[in-house]
Amino acid sequence: MQTSYSLHTTAKLENLSQIRDFVETSAMELGHDPDFIYHALIAVDELATNIILHGYQGQGGKLEVQVEQVADDLILRLRDEAAPFDPTTLPAPNLTLPLEKRPIGGLGVYLARQSMDEVHHRVTSTGGNELTLVKRRPGQKT
């Protein structure tokens, strides 16, 4: 059974649908339920949007999305060739502040981190970014 899926695409807003559809289809094939998958979609969309708008400054660039199942973990990877930026260092937004006073981009990363069990960043050997997102299959429901 296939446990790893890969999409090579261009980091453009118009491709967000393609990226989400790819993650959804792959995660469904891996047997995950809709609720679980929805959270993975949130994380991928938010982080891919940041790569598109901030990483590549809207100019486009390569984006690789990988979906993999390792034991109980669904692992998503986003690889780009943009300048190194670690979104995990952004502080959590102050949700008591009115939205217009919150820093740009903080909300999306927060939502992504709320949706996954782990989010890791590393700089790749080519000087780009790799984000690894992990979501653990939930335990037996009572």
Partner: protein, 137 residues
């Protein structure tokens, strides 16, 4: 294939006229939110002061979509002398404030979850029924 993002507009009459945006695109994300905002702006300029967003076909909303809900919320209060910022802030803090001008109809449970995580249910009413939504304005 990206789905078409389309908004169908209907006018309803409760105690006050209410413009309803039936959002036919299935996502409000960084790629589609501007259309929603532009349409809300156009409606406001045409005189709309009470807006209901029919989210029943929306499968997914990202933080970009949430920001646009907030922009529209701010837009719809731009013309209301009776509602002070202070009153709103106090109401938000103690959970009593809900926008009288912008409400949501039938978001899916997944979308409702996102709204709740980001605190949007604090200031936007969520209705499950069109008639009841219109009557609430």
């Amino acid at each position: 294939m990206a789905s078409e993002f389309q908004i169908t507009v209907s006018q309803q009459q409760g105690r006050v006229p209410v413009t309803v945006f039936h959002i036919n695109g299935d996502v409000i994300d960084a790629n589609s939110f501007q259309q929603l905002e532009a349409q809300a702006q156009a409606a406001f300029e045409a005189g709309t002061r009470n807006l209901l967003l029919d989210m029943s076909k929306v499968r997914y909303i990202s933080s970009a979509g949430l920001r646009s809900l907030h922009s529209i919320f701010m837009l719809m209060r731009a013309d209301t002398p009776g509602e002070s910022d202070e009153t709103m802030k106090k109401g938000l803090m103690d959970g009593t404030f809900k926008s009288p001008h912008l409400k949501l109809l039938n978001p899916s449970s997944a979308v409702t979850d996102t709204l709740r995580v980001m605190g949007f249910d604090m200031f936007l009413e969520i209705h499950r029924n069109l008639k009841e939504a219109i009557a609430s304005y």
